[in-house]
């Protein structure tokens, strides 16, 4: 019987612990591959905001008085913001709870993989799916509901930063909320309820002007309201600013709130993330 030591037999690699950034990229590629192999998940993730855009923008089509836009046009940036949040917050909140219950997280924790690589992989996944989702909604919005592409480089830049900051903040919040449900079964209820409420009080389904101020103020504590507002700034004409609570797009404040949520969300993840489910401790 051969007794060659493991070390010298079939060992490959450089002998150094691989870095979190590189592993995060590899995990991202793996996550994206896994995501697209689940056909039903792909179809429903992308279809959901599109169906809602179709419903709302087709039902409410009248001109908005004094703003120079139609209600349909308002729904395009709103559904885009909701789409970004659903591909990040909702998708991660539910899927990580399932991975925790299925022991996928425990398996990873038993390896020398740095935890940051796991989170980075998730961020890459949602950047990718969120970008696709946004592109699909943009296509529907521009072809069916009279919304133009961003009119200049400045507005494209605004779209880019609202997207990146918004999706990162929502992804981190999704990772954080995944630790709340006790089981994978309850995860979708735990994640969907706050998401639905936020959509109502952040001006996704209902125009800002019809929501009571106190509700808007609660909504303003969370990223979704600011993502909607930032995206309205990208896609609507200047005349529509009269509809805003503050009478302007407030792009500086949008950046500030979303940036703060990125930092706060990261801290929340680091403080509360659980690798094991509660039942097994």
């Amino acid at each position: 019987m051969t007794t060659t030591p493991v070390r010298e037999r079939g060992a490959v690699g450089v002998g150094r612990l691989p870095g979190a950034w590189g592993l995060g990229l590899r995990r991202g590629a793996l996550e994206i591959r896994q995501f697209f192999r689940q056909r039903d998940q792909v179809v429903f993730t992308f279809a959901f905001p599109v169906v809602f855009l179709f419903l709302f923008a087709s039902i409410f089509r009248d001109d908005v008085e004094g703003a120079g836009i139609t209600a349909s046009q308002l729904y395009v940036p709103a559904m885009m913001a909701a789409g970004i949040m659903s591909t990040s917050f909702q998708a991660l909140g539910i899927s990580i709870a399932i991975e925790r219950e299925d022991k996928v997280l425990r398996r990873l924790r038993g390896t020398p993989m740095p935890p940051a690589a796991y989170f980075l992989g998730k961020i890459w996944l949602v950047l990718f799916t969120g970008l696709l989702e946004t592109a699909v909604l943009l296509l529907v919005g521009t072809t069916c509901y009279g919304v133009g592409l961003p009119s200049d480089a400045g507005r494209w830049f605004d779209l880019a930063w609202v997207f990146v900051l918004g999706i990162t903040a929502c992804a981190l919040l999704g990772i954080a909320i995944s630790s709340v449900p006790n089981s994978a079964n309850s995860a979708s209820s735990v994640v969907v309820l706050p998401f639905l409420v936020l959509q109502f009080i952040s001006g996704v389904y209902i125009a800002i002007g019809t929501i009571p101020d106190w509700m808007l103020n609660i909504g303003a504590l969370f990223p979704l309201k600011w993502m909607c507002q930032g995206l309205r700034g990208v896609f609507l004409p200047e005349s529509a600013q009269v509809l805003e609570q503050a009478g302007s797009w407030e792009s500086g404040r949008v950046a500030l709130v979303l940036g703060a949520w990125c930092v706060g969300g990261l801290a929340l993840c680091l403080l509360t993330f659980r690798w094991k489910d509660r039942r097994t401790g």
Binding site: V6, G13, L30, Q34, P112
Partner: protein
């Protein structure tokens, strides 16, 4: 390989762990040498899994000193984790990835991984290398789990009831895999409630019951130490069966011979099997239950 600053691969002293009112581990000491295959044997709920989880660094302890490969697992660094392979008693979820993709990906986590193709061969999954994990049978998934446990080329492999749910053929196959790893010099600690498995694989074993080690040693030595008492059984003239446990069975037979004046009806003299020893030690013996 020898000058790594620690004598024992696993050194545990006075380990304790409680869950609420339940004491799972109640003062366990273990010294497992490098290159050894060590078995933790005991019934369900004896504290084996808790002990192994503490060795893995996946559970905190209430008291005791624990050193695994020279480090405290509670503060295990990435470098430490790269030297410890883990196989759990329940496999992790089926994924949309193939066996080859998964093993190759996990190899990326380690500084000196083994060759993924070689590891896939080692666990006998060559034919399934391009199958999605969700299409594998339960036994095949367990073997994939073993592959992920050894892909990093661990110095120490911790296996928690690795063959639960295996059919006999798969179990034998798994045993030869463990022997192959042991021949390569990997220290292996496994828990099992199959005595047969412990006898087939381990150099030494500890029998655990109610959070304590009730016996420890080589399987053969345990049998001798705890199995010296033989059972002498016979039938009384009125037809009722009798039995006595004794350390001097020859004398007992001689006495009976005197009483019966010749042949003793229904005479048997039996030595306990390791299983009898085990059942008695863990308080599961029918005899003791009476």
């Amino acid at each position: 390989m020898t000058a790594q600053g620690y004598e024992l691969a696993v050194d545990v002293r006075g380990l304790r762990k409680r869950y609420g009112d339940l004491t799972a581990v109640d003062g366990i000491d273990l010294g497992i040498r490098r290159g050894e295959v060590f078995g933790l044997l005991g019934p369900n709920g004896a504290g084996k899994s808790t002990t192994v989880e503490i060795l893995q660094g996946n559970r905190d302890r209430d008291a005791g000193e624990v050193s695994v490969l020279g480090s405290d697992p509670a503060t295990g660094t990435r470098a430490w984790r790269s030297r410890v392979g883990i196989v759990w008693q329940d496999e992790s979820a089926p994924a949309e990835l193939t066996v080859r993709e998964t093993v190759r990906h996990f190899a990326r986590y380690y500084p000196r991984p083994r060759d993924p193709e070689e590891v896939i061969g080692l666990v006998g999954l060559e034919a399934k290398a391009d199958s999605r994990i969700k299409a594998l049978s339960g036994g095949q998934r367990r073997r994939l789990d073993v592959a992920l446990g050894v892909i990093g080329g661990p110095d120490l492999l911790l296996l928690d009831e690795p063959t639960t749910g295996f059919d006999p053929a798969a179990r034998r196959q798994f045993w030869s895999l463990i022997r192959a790893l042991a021949d390569e010099g990997t220290t292996i600690v496994l828990t099992t409630h199959y005595l047969e498995e412990a006898e087939a694989l381990v150099h030494r074993l500890a029998v655990v019951a109610e959070g304590r080690i009730v016996a420890e040693g080589e399987p053969g030595a345990l049998r001798e130490r705890y199995g010296t008492e033989a059972t002498v059984a016979w039938t009384e003239p009125d037809g009722s069966p009798r039995a006595t446990r004794t350390g001097t069975p020859t004398r007992a037979v001689a006495d009976l011979m005197g009483r019966f004046g010749g042949e003793i009806p229904g005479l048997t003299v039996t030595r306990p099997t390791l299983e009898d020893v085990y059942l008695r030690l863990t308080g599961q013996s029918q005899e003791d239950a009476r």
